[in-house]
Subunit: 120 residues, 2 copies
DNA sequence: GGAAATAGGACTAAATTAGTCGTATTGATT
DNA sequence: AATCAATACGACTAATTTAGTCCTATTTCC
């Protein structure tokens, strides 16, 4: 909702979006910071500051937004990069690992096909 | 994992699957009951009882399995059928309702394309 | 200097999901 | 008839995750 608002209005403050969309201010603030961190939006501090899209809405797909907001968007823990193999004792002889990976790729693809531009 | 096991072995008891896949017995029992309720598997009570596939693995897609196990698989509460309109005060002037519905349909489609047969 | 904004860490509360427990029922075997 | 091994199921508890809050910096315009 925040990105839809931003894409429509060009730029806005957290306070404005919070009021317009009835989103708790503090929560939205966290969301905006995450979007900034990912480089989806740009921020301007100080008085008369706020946020603006850094990338064209059509170039921001929902898969990217998901990953910007959540640190782990995998279907299972073992699918994260890194030390995850040790986390599951069944990792070596797991028989659903491959199909699960395939499923995740397909889902990411379908989520990735929708962009912020399609929310306007 | 349970369905993969069942599809491979033809039939099995909860105890067998639990041991083979290291799934907590009580939890798996609940899962099997849900699958039975949905009509994906058939159950046989009493001694020498157990479960067997009721439908061919190729006809059981993961979307159906999801819905069999979870009572609500919607992206948002307002997308459930029934009284949900009253649950969200913003329902009438929600501006992401339509794209969200479209997204859910696309995701369901991609999940629905994979069947238990593809786990074998 | 003050007001209005972002930045971010630490925390709490709510909701969800995973897992357990107790008991009933069914049905083949002895 | 008794027993044992299985499903059925409701109620509960524990763990995890997610939503939301609070406090304090920092930045920048006026």
């Amino acid at each position: 909702m925040a990105l839809q608002h931003l894409a429509k209005s060009g730029n806005a403050t957290t306070r404005e979006i919070s009021a317009a969309r009835q989103i708790p201010y503090d929560l939205l603030a966290k969301v905006m910071q995450s979007l900034k961190r990912d480089g989806i939006v740009d921020s301007y501090q100080g008085a008369h500051g706020g946020y603006a899209m850094l990338i064209s809405p059509g170039s921001v797909n929902l898969s990217r937004v998901m990953n910007a907001l959540d640190e782990d968007t995998n279907l299972a823990e073992c699918m994260s990069t890194g030390i995850s193999h040790e986390q599951c004792s069944m990792y070596e002889n797991c028989t659903i690992k491959d199909p699960l990976n395939k499923l995740q790729m397909r889902m990411e693809e379908s989520v990735g096909k929708m962009t912020i531009a399609e929310l306007l």
